[in-house]
C-alpha cells in the first residue's frame, strides 16, 4: 500500500497507532530504561498517513510555538525523515525533548480534526519524537563569529534554545549553569525512563559544535555579579534560571524526617544517582511512599519511587482525576506500574514515630464544589471525614516558585509580586535593556515547550536590538 494515494475516507479508517512500550512489571525494575520505545518506520508512516493535511490546520494553533505540524507529518508520510526533522527544527530547538514531554493532549492533539469526528487525534507527539530520533540534519556549519559576547544564566530548555538561536546568528555565547551538570530540569528533574539523558546530551554536543561554551558551577548573581558580566564584555544577558523553589503546604509535621520536596527526591536520584552503587548521595528507599500532588513532577516522583523498590506508592490529590494537571500518558503509565491514586484526599497533618520520622499521614476527604477562576472545580473538605494511613516517605509535589537568586542580586531589575522577572510580553526584555528573561523565571512554572519558545523569541528580539545598536 502506498499511503500517499489514500483517499480521505481510507485515511480516517486507520486506527491511531499505539506507542510500543516496555512491560510495566519489567520496566519498574529499571530507573533508566525508557518506557516508550518509539514508533517503527512502518508505524510512523501509517500514522502520518492519518493526517488529512487540513487546509486550515487547527493543530498548529494548539502549538505554543506554532510548529508546521502537517508539514513535518507529510514528510514522514513520504518517508523523508530528514526533511521532517528540518521542518520541526525551523520552529523548535528541542523536538526530541518536546515529542516526549509536551502535554500534546492539551495542545496540538486537542485541536486535531479527528476529535470532531469522535475519533482519536493524530499522534502528533509520537510523530514529532519519531522525526527527531530518526531524522538527521547535516552538521550545521559553525557560523562566522560576529565577536559579540552573550551570557546565558541557566542551561534548561529556555537557556539551551536561546543559546542555539544566538550561536546560529554568530554570537559568542557562554551558558553559565549553577549545578555541576548541564541541562537544568531536563537532567535533574525529568527521569531517564521518560527522557533519556542521551537525548539532552545530543543537543548539548550540537550546541558545543556551534561554539557555545558551557560553564558549570557558576551562579549568576553569586559567583559572577551582573557588573562582572559587563566587565567581562558581555553585551546581552538572557536569564533562564527556572522555577527552582519548591512549595510546601505548611501543615503540621511537614518538616519531619523523610518528608521532602519532589525536587529533592528527583535531584538526589536523577542528578546525584542516589541508590546507584558507587554514588555517595543517600536517599530513603522505604516500602510505603506517598506523593502529594497531581502534576507531571508528582508522576515522575511516584514512578521513580516504584523503581526505587517501594511496594506501595500512593498519589494523594485533592481534586478528582479529571482535574489532574499531569499528562494523560504519565497517569496511565503510573497506574500500569501499580501506583495507587487517592484522589479527593488532601493531607492535613503528618505524624511522627519515636525518632522523629514520618510514620503516618492524616488525609482530609474532599468533594468537588463550584468551578474556580481556572475553570477547575474547586475541592472542599467533607467535614469530619479524615483517614489516617501509614507512610514511610512523603514526597511533596505541590508546585514551585521562581528562584529568587537573580531577582535579588541585580538592582534595578523589575520583579513581579509573584517573584518572577517582569518582561515585555513580546520581546521578553526586562527593565534592564540588555537583560532578557524567559522560561519559568518569567512564567513561574510552565512547560518545556513554552520555555523553549521563550528562548527563541528572546534571541530574535535581542538580536534585533543589538543590530540596531551596532549600526
Amino acid at each position: 500500500m502506498n499511503p500517499t494515494n489514500l483517499t480521505p475516507k481510507e485515511r480516517t479508517a486507520i486506527p491511531r497507532v499505539e506507542m510500543p512500550e516496555l512491560d510495566a512489571e519489567f520496566r519498574v525494575s529499571s530507573l533508566t530504561l525508557e518506557v516508550n520505545q518509539g514508533l517503527s518506520r512502518e508505524q510512523a508512516v501509517m500514522e502520518a498517513s492519518r493526517c488529512l493535511n487540513c487546509p486550515n490546520p487547527q493543530c498548529v494553533t494548539g502549538c505554543p510555538v506554532s510548529i508546521n505540524i502537517p508539514g513535518f507529518i507529510k514528510q514522514i508520510e513520504q518517508q523523508n525523515f530528514n526533511e521532517a526533522l528540518s521542518v520541526l527544527r525551523r520552529t523548535s530547538a528541542l523536538p526530541a525533548v518536546c515529542g516526549r514531554v509536551c502535554p500534546q493532549e492539551k495542545q496540538c492533539e486537542s485541536k486535531c480534526i479527528y476529535n470532531r469526528m469522535s475519533k482519536q487525534p493524530v499522534a502528533i507527539g509520537y510523530l514529532e519524537r519519531f522525526a527527531a530520533d530518526n531524522g538527521s540534519l547535516p552538521q550545521t556549519e559553525r557560523p562566522q563569529s560576529n565577536g559579540v559576547k552573550i551570557a546565558v544564566a541557566g542551561s534548561g530548555p529556555a537557556g539551551l534554545s536561546f543559546a542555539g538561536a544566538m550561536a546560529a546568528l554568530g554570537y559568542e555565547v557562554t551558558v553559565f549553569e549553577a549545578l555541576h551538570a548541564v541541562g537544568g530540569v531536563l537532567i535533574y528533574g525529568i527521569p531517564e525512563f521518560r527522557l533519556p539523558n542521551s537525548v539532552v546530551e545530543k543537543e548539548i554536543v550540537a550546541l558545543k559544535a556551534m561554539g557555545v561554551v558551557f560553564e558549570t558551577d557558576t551562579i549568576v548573581g553569586k559567583t559572577l555579579s551582573y557588573d562582572q558580566l559587563l566587565e567581562m564584555g558581555f553585551r546581552g544577558i538572557f536569564v533562564a534560571s527556572g522555577a527552582g523553589l519548591p512549595r510546601f503546604m505548611n501543615i503540621p509535621g511537614e518538616n519531619l524526617v523523610n518528608i521532602m520536596s519532589s525536587n529533592e527526591y528527583l535531584t538526589r536520584i536523577n542528578l546525584m544517582h542516589a541508590g546507584t552503587p558507587g554514588y555517595a548521595t543517600p536517599v530513603p528507599q522505604p516500602e510505603t511512599v506517598a506523593v502529594i500532588g497531581g502534576g507531571n513532577t508528582a508522576m515522575d516522583s511516584c514512578r521513580t519511587a516504584r523503581r526505587m523498590g517501594a511496594k506501595r506508592v500512593m498519589v494523594i490529590y485533592r481534586r478528582s482525576e479529571a482535574e489532574m494537571p499531569a499528562r494523560v500518558e504519565e497517569v496511565k503509565h503510573a497506574r500500569q506500574e501499580g501506583v495507587e491514586f487517592l484522589t479527593l484526599h488532601n493531607p492535613v497533618e503528618y505524624l511522627a514515630d519515636e525518632r522523629g520520622r514520618v510514620r503516618a499521614m492524616r488525609l482530609q476527604r474532599m468533594e468537588l464544589g463550584e468551578p474556580d477562576a481556572d475553570g477547575r472545580r474547586s475541592p472542599r473538605p467533607v467535614q469530619g471525614d479524615i483517614v489516617e494511613i501509614p507512610v514511610d516517605l512523603v514526597i511533596v509535589s505541590v508546585g514551585v516558585s521562581p528562584n529568587p537568586i537573580i531577582p535579588a542580586a541585580i538592582s534595578g531589575l523589575e520583579v513581579t509580586s509573584r517573584g518572577t522577572i517582569a518582561t515585555d510580553s513580546e520581546t521578553l526584555q526586562s527593565s534592564i535593556p540588555m537583560l532578557y528573561a524567559g522560561g519559568d523565571i518569567v512564567r513561574g512554572g510552565a512547560t518545556v515547550i513554552l520555555a523553549m519558545g521563550d528562548g527563541r523569541r528572546a534571541a530574535a528580539a535581542m538580536h534585533n536590538n543589538l543590530q540596531s545598536n551596532l549600526k
Binding site: H180, Y188, D217, I219, K222, T223, L224, G244, L245, N255
Partner: protein, 258 residues
C-alpha cells in the same frame, strides 16, 4: 580546577584546605558558604568559607570528618582536585558598626566564625570571642581569632585548656559582667540552641549560622528548610544566618538526624 594547594591537619578529624577557586575568592564575604563535590560520584556537601585570598585566587575550607563524604574529603591531599566547588552561597553576615559583640564558636564552627570576627573587628566592634570544644586538641584557629579579638575565652568540656565548662558558662559570665549588643554563634546545633536560650534570658540579640543538610544549595531542593518564627525558611538562600531566638532548634536537630 579546584585544586588543593595546601592542607593542614588541625586535629585527628579536622582538616584545613586551601583550594583554588578564583571567582569565589573574589566575590565571597563573611558568612558565605560553598558546595563541594569531592569526585564525580560524590555528594554535594555544604562547607562554610573560613577565609579567602583573592590575590592567590584561593579559598580556605575547614572540614570535619563526620560522615562518608567528609571523611573522603579529609583524606584528599594537596595536588588533588575537587570535582566541583560552587559558590559563594547564602547571604553574607550583617556586620555591626560598633558595640560589643560576643562570637561563640564550638568545635569546627570556629572556622566559619573567623571571617565574621574579623569583619566585626574591622568595622569597629569590641569583639569577645569564646572558643569551645570537648578537649584541648579540638580548639582550632586560636591564634587567628586572637589577632582580631579584644578578648578570647577558651572553654573545654574536660578542662584540659582554658576554663572547664561549656560555651554557655563562658558566655553567661560575660553577660553578667557587661552590656553586650549582639551574640553570634556557630557550632553544633545543640550548642547553638543553648546559647540561644541563654541570650534570650538576657534579652541580647543573637544570630546563629545554621548547618543543615543540603543538596543543591541554591533553593531548589528544600532539604535545608527550618522553621523560623513559625515560617518555613531555606538556609541556603534565606540564611545561613537567622535570628537565633526565632529558630525552632528542636525541629532542626531532628532533621539533622536523617
Amino acid at each position: 580546577m579546584y585544586q588543593i594547594v595546601d592542607k593542614q591537619q588541625f586535629s585527628a578529624n579536622v582538616v584545613k584546605f586551601e583550594v583554588i577557586a578564583p571567582r569565589i575568592a573574589a566575590s565571597r564575604r563573611a558568612g558565605h558558604f560553598v558546595i563541594v563535590i569531592d569526585n564525580e560520584k560524590g555528594e554535594r556537601i555544604p562547607l562554610t568559607i573560613a577565609d579567602a585570598n583573592p590575590e592567590r585566587g584561593t579559598i580556605t575550607l575547614v572540614v570535619q570528618a563526620i560522615g562518608y563524604s567528609t571523611r573522603a574529603i579529609c583524606a584528599m591531599e594537596p595536588g588533588q582536585s575537587f570535582a566541583d566547588v560552587v559558590g559563594p552561597l547564602g547571604r553574607a553576615t550583617q556586620i555591626r558598626n560598633g558595640g560589643t559583640v560576643v562570637c561563640c564558636g564550638g568545635g569546627v564552627g570556629v572556622a566559619p566564625l573567623l571571617p565574621i570576627i574579623r569583619a566585626m573587628k574591622q568595622a569597629g566592634c569590641r569583639v569577645i570571642s569564646i572558643l569551645a570544644a570537648r578537649t584541648r586538641e579540638l580548639i582550632i584557629l586560636e591564634e587567628q581569632v586572637r589577632k582580631s579579638s579584644d578578648e578570647v575565652i577558651i572553654m573545654t568540656d574536660d578542662g584540659s585548656y582554658g576554663t572547664k565548662g561549656l560555651v554557655t558558662n563562658g558566655l553567661e559570665a560575660v553577660l553578667q559582667r557587661e552590656h553586650v549588643d549582639e551574640v553570634v554563634t556557630i557550632g553544633p546545633a545543640v550548642m547553638m540552641k543553648f546559647v540561644s536560650l541563654l541570650t534570650k534570658k538576657y534579652d541580647v540579640p543573637t544570630v546563629a549560622s545554621l548547618n543543615t543538610i543540603m543538596v543543591d544549595g541554591t533553593g531548589m531542593c528544600g532539604a535545608c528548610r527550618v522553621s523560623v518564627d513559625g515560617r518555613n525558611r531555606f538556609v541556603c538562600i534565606d540564611g545561613p544566618e537567622f535570628d537565633a531566638h526565632k529558630v525552632d532548634f528542636d525541629e532542626m536537630i531532628n532533621r539533622l538526624r536523617q
